[in-house]
Symmetry: C2
Subunit: 308 residues, 2 copies
């Protein structure tokens, strides 16, 4: 059993590669829920949905978010009625939010709903939210304290990030599925996906019990750097690193995960800045074949790092 910690698009793509490389049931994808928010009365879970859509091969391959062949007729009509349209929800995507909101209101935990959605979409591996308790990423910026989606979508990551906090994390518990796999005798490795370390992975590590468990684990843990040539493939990772006075290099990523990982997978473009225990390879995931190749290389790297 492999655990993958994942956030948005990059994380979902590697998780998809792992899902293809591993036999059914041997992967648990633990997903960031710090980006979740209630909008238009709907409970929206951007990162879990990106993982659901990517692993079911329903995701839009270009945009990275949402469903392929999606329409936006509801949003267009909402605009005509004077509603808020800055967060674009596709017509098919809306079904996910409507049904999740209904089931949450009926008392079902987020992880049970997510597991059911995954099964209905034909996904053979476990997708578990980091927690069933509400945790909200708050971005402290040059323009004030912002809820995550205001920073990320409404303001297009323009404000300068000073720090991040995870509201509700202290009182939260890991989700039941995560608890089970953390204790599993079948666990053979942990992979931190090439997601934004600050926005996507840190919220997972903020859930009480997860960081100490990672520090004390007896199986290898590796991270895949989200940087290629000192830049993020997508998203604001490099911009945020600069704002936090960090170099956008493998060294900074390795230091960020210090004590949590045994090795770091970095891109060939960053060879000159390799730092510590590294696997250097092509980390760009342009297509499904790339995802699966990188996943197989990461799994082989874990095997090499396993204590004899």
């Amino acid at each position: 059993m492999i655990i993958a910690l994942a956030g948005g698009v990059g994380g979902a793509r590697l998780a998809h590669g792992l899902a293809r490389a591993l036999p059914p049931g041997e992967l648990t994808v633990v997903v960031n829920t710090g980006d979740d928010f209630v909008h238009l009365g709907l409970h929206i879970c951007p990162d879990p949905d990106t993982v659901l859509y990517t692993l079911s091969e329903l995701a839009d391959p270009e945009r990275g978010w949402g469903l392929k062949g999606e329409t936006f007729n509801c949003m267009e009509a909402l605009g005509r009625l004077g509603g808020e349209t800055w967060f674009a929800l596709g017509d098919r995507d809306l079904a996910t939010h409507i049904e999740r909101t209904r089931r949450l209101a009926a008392g079902e935990p987020l992880s049970a709903i997510t597991a059911d959605f995954a099964a209905r979409l034909g996904i053979a591996h476990a997708i578990v939210p980091m927690s069933d308790d509400p945790i909200r990423t708050i971005v402290h910026t040059s323009e004030g304290i912002l809820p995550f989606q205001d920073y990320f979508v409404r303001l297009h990551c323009a404000p300068e990030v000073k720090s991040l906090t995870f509201e509700g994390a202290e009182a939260a518990s890991p989700s039941p599925g995560l608890c089970a796999v953390m204790k599993s005798q079948d666990l053979s490795g942990v992979i931190i996906c090439p997601s934004n370390p600050f926005l996507s992975i840190d919220p997972i590590l903020a859930v009480p019990g997860i960081r100490p468990w990672l520090q004390g684990r007896n199986v290898p843990c590796i991270a895949i750097s989200p940087l290629i040539g000192g830049k993020a493939v997508k998203g604001p990772a490099a911009k945020i690193m600069a704002e936090l006075k960090l170099d956008a290099t493998p060294r900074a990523i390795a230091q960020h995960y210090q004590g949590l990982i045994d090795g770091l997978v970095i891109d060939e473009a960053d060879t000159a800045n390799a730092f510590g225990e590294c696997l250097v390879t092509n980390t760009l995931m342009s297509d499904v074949a790339d995802r699966e190749r990188l996943a197989r290389e990461a799994l082989a790297y874990i095997e090499r790092l396993r204590p004899a």
Copy 2:
């Protein structure tokens, strides 16, 4: 100023004719909200929406409900996730329900939201819900007591109707817009649209104050029979009349509205069964020209019935 009492498709079509025949601001359409219900967490108002869509000329001309050119991608995706799809909500239509639900939750009254939607859709007349208080039509049938939409949509009106009650009506008040126009010195007539008397008009008459006001009014009131040749153009009016041991004739309609109307508009196909004060004409509204013609004939009939 003319008041039109309206329910679903037939009522909306005559209201549309009246809207075209009258100068802007001289029509108030009072709409049944007894069909309203909460479904998938959304506050759905079928009759007010049919009136909004019909008067804005956005309604689907064939189906009678919903928007023209509508897509149902959300419903299809909802089915894939195991959600309830028996009540078909179009993608554009969903925007109405999402925005209304959000504004109701924020504390706005239904009538203010409806007025705003009407203005945004370019409607120059007032559309007012019969009440801002929740009133729910309950259908007592051979198969038990059913919420309206279970009877109407889920069971396709198949159960035999024994009686109807309007839950919440006793505690309800007419909406502020209706109260204002009931007291208006400019009121020149009332038209009961060719809506189902039992399902669409009776809930309006059940709101405290409306029936006594109609009984005591000093302007003419007419009804347009929803029957053509003893059958309803659409919907279960004739079926329900049979189940309630009423003949599907102008006499039964006139008796149903006894004390409330000064005259009844009936179709040429029912000439043989004309009863009391009647205007006989073609009441089928196949296109927009038909709606406007029937509206103008109804307005002229009101003038003829006005006391000298």
